[in-house]
């Protein structure tokens, strides 16, 4: 494999997140290394999506520290996380339904576009050049994910599997360092899952993007992850390479229950 796993890029230390009296996450620590595929698994309601929301600034944990690229990260807003190179997809597709596939993916490049609205209004010189330069980048992503034929289609008309792929394209268009994928394969058939796995591995391999993945399909998780962290009821119950996690008695207990 071409990619080489590097140093720690995100280090989460003793994260606790509460919503009023509900403890969503309790004292969770784990790290993500550069270029790896890091999976977060756990039963429903374990706090996996909350974990992603903490990483990209949608939720602010009450306790704990986040080190990003070695530096302590202050409380930040989602758009600041985006500026630092964190992109994500959502569990329930969060595409812009009224826009075409192309426009949706173009939104992924907004942070790299420097023209202001007055230049856009005139659509002359710099604004037009910028638009076309970014269109070229977007077309690369479109080609990479094999969605050329639907680029002018409004996303609302697409089937579920393709919408998931467009959402991945939008996140990739931002050229992120870290890609957070929240159940990218939920509700897909085997073939679509295979395609999605291939794309995730290709992204990881080709762009060297670090990937944090939430997924329920254990076959997929064990196959493509470098390391897996297991959450249950907001607590970390396992962490390590797939083989290790698979044989962890705590994890087996959480998933299968124990005999009494």
């Amino acid at each position: 494999m071409a990619r080489k796993i590097g140093g720690v890029i995100v280090d989460l230390q003793n994260i606790s997140l509460r919503f009023g009296g509900v403890k969503a996450l309790t004292d969770i620590s784990f790290d993500v290394k550069e270029h790896e595929i890091r999976s977060i698994i756990g039963p429903n309601g374990a706090g996996k999506s909350s974990m992603l929301n903490v990483i990209n600034g949608v939720y602010h944990p009450q306790e704990g520290q986040i080190f990003f690229k070695g530096a302590l990260r202050k409380k930040l807003e989602p758009h600041e996380a985006a500026e630092q190179g964190i992109a994500r997809t959502f569990q329930n597709i969060a595409l812009f339904k009224g826009m075409t596939v192309l426009d949706n993916i173009m939104t992924g490049r907004n942070l790299k576009m420097k023209c202001n609205f007055l230049q856009h209004a005139l659509y002359w010189g710099a604004a037009q050049k910028e638009e076309i330069a970014h269109r070229i980048k977007v077309e690369e992503v479109i080609e990479f994910l094999e969605i050329q034929s639907i680029r002018k289609t409004p996303v609302g008309r697409l089937p579920y599997g393709l919408q998931k792929r467009v959402e991945l394209a939008r996140a990739l268009a931002a050229e992120p360092h870290i890609l957070l994928l929240d159940e990218p394969m939920a509700g897909m058939n085997v073939e679509e899952k295979q395609d999605m796995c291939r794309f995730i591995l290709d992204v990881n391999d080709h762009y060297g993007t670090t990937i944090v993945l939430i997924e329920h399909d254990m076959g997929v998780v064990m196959d493509i992850s470098d390391r897996v962290v297991v959450l249950d009821y907001g607590k970390k119950i396992g962490d390590g390479e797939p083989e290790e996690v698979k044989n962890n008695p705590e994890v087996i207990k959480a998933y299968l229950g124990t005999s009494h």
């Binding site: 990209n56 949608v58 807003e77 989602p78 758009h79 996380a81 985006a82 500026e83 992109a87 994500r88 959502f90 969060a94 595409l95 812009f96 339904k97 009224g98 826009m99 426009d103 173009m106 939104t107 992924g108 907004n110 942070l111 576009m113 023209c115 609205f117 856009h120 209004a121 005139l122 659509y123 604004a127 037009q128 638009e131 076309i132 269109r135 070229i136 077309e139 939008r170 996140a171 931002a174």
Partner: protein, 355 residues
């Protein structure tokens, strides 16, 4: 058959990103511009220019302003008429109080004043959405009209609150005839429509639509909600403000604050609902429809039913038709006339052969 794209290949992204990528559309558009920009001023009667064409253009501009805010950025507003009032009174005061103020500069300043007021009343949109925001903009509607009446300074201490627009003079030429006023209005509206189209097809417009469709995802992808929403309020109010100034200077001639009441705001809202929410062309279609419908009913209802119904009935009948149409469009085609036009074009690709 006549309308099809087969054989029209684009060799560059610039060509692909044109406003009208299909040749037939381009030809149609320029024909339309020639007809309305050159032929109409020579051919149309004074009544048509003053009572129909100029108001259609001005309301199109106001509808375009509201469409930017509501149709593209998804922020419901019931204050468009108030922003028009700000524009009208700002233009009046700039021209009145500053010696030698050129009309076009006054128009831009009027728009900017409306934009500033728009930003102020757009601040609640950072915390509230939908119906609740509509109610907040309703406050703008009532407050602005109240303030314009309350402080006579705005209307230069006119006892009735009515102000008379000064002559429109650009570079020594006074736009006095309806033809001249029409051409001026046409040029301004066409230019601003082009600017709006350019904004909505580039990153600014994508930011607005992203916030409209899914604000959390927009934020996560890097758009700043505050900046995006307030920009939509500013640009929208700018358009409404310029429309208000044109309303005073090239259409009515004398305006009072009460003329920009809630009824007018609703009328503009109906224009975008009927014309097409989130469509530049829809703003024009909707404005034309709503300006023309009463004239049509005025002329044709007595023609069909005779005078027996009385004028009172006819005006009530208008309201009934209006209400009925709004409900019809909301149920059957929420994207309005613009969408119907799009469907017609898709059908025309095959017509007259079914395959």
């Amino acid at each position: 058959m006549l309308y099809r794209e087969a054989g029209q290949f684009k060799a560059s992204y610039a060509e692909d990103a044109q406003i009208f990528p299909i040749r037939q559309d381009r030809i149609g558009f320029w024909l339309l511009m020639l007809v309305f920009g050159v032929a109409v001023p020579f051919l149309a009667s004074e009544y048509w220019l003053k009572a129909i064409l100029i108001p259609v253009l001005i309301f199109s501009l106001a509808a375009l302003g509201l469409n930017i805010l509501t149709g593209y950025a998804g922020q419901l507003s019931l204050g468009s008429a108030a922003f028009m009032a700000v524009g009208a009174f700002a233009a009046y005061n700039f021209i009145l109080r500053i010696e030698g103020m050129p009309f076009l500069v006054a128009l831009v300043l009027a728009g900017l004043t409306a934009a500033a007021v728009g930003i102020l009343f757009g601040l609640p949109s950072l915390r509230i959405k939908g119906f609740y925001l509509a109610v907040a903009t309703l406050a703008a509607q009532f407050f602005i009209v109240w303030a314009l009446v309350k402080f006579p300074w705005f209307s230069n201490n006119s006892s009735s609150g009515v102000v008379t627009a000064q002559d429109v003079t650009i570079l020594g030429y006074t736009f006095a005839t309806p033809e001249a006023k029409y051409v001026l209005t046409f040029l301004i509206v066409a230019f601003m429509a082009l600017l709006a189209k350019n904004m909505v097809r580039s990153s600014t417009g994508r930011a607005w639509m992203a916030v409209r469709d899914m604000d959390v995802a927009a934020q996560v992808i890097g758009f700043r909600l505050m900046r995006t929403k307030l920009l939509a309020f500013a640009v929208s109010s700018f358009y409404c403000g310029v429309a208000g100034a044109l309303y005073a200077y090239t259409y009515i001639g004398t305006v009072e604050p009460e003329g920009f009441n809630l009824d007018l705001s609703f009328k503009i809202l109906f224009m975008i609902i009927i014309g097409g929410v989130g469509s530049i062309m829809g703003s024009f279609l909707g404005a034309a429809f709503i300006v023309l419908l009463p004239i049509f009913l005025d002329n044709f209802v007595p023609m069909i039913f005779g005078d027996s119904l009385g004028a009172g009935f006819v005006s009530n009948f208008q309201l009934i038709i209006f209400g009925g149409l709004i409900i019809f469009f909301l149920i059957v085609e929420p994207h309005g006339l613009a969408r119907l036009w799009q469907i017609a074009k898709e059908k025309l690709r095959l017509w007259p052969f079914p395959h």
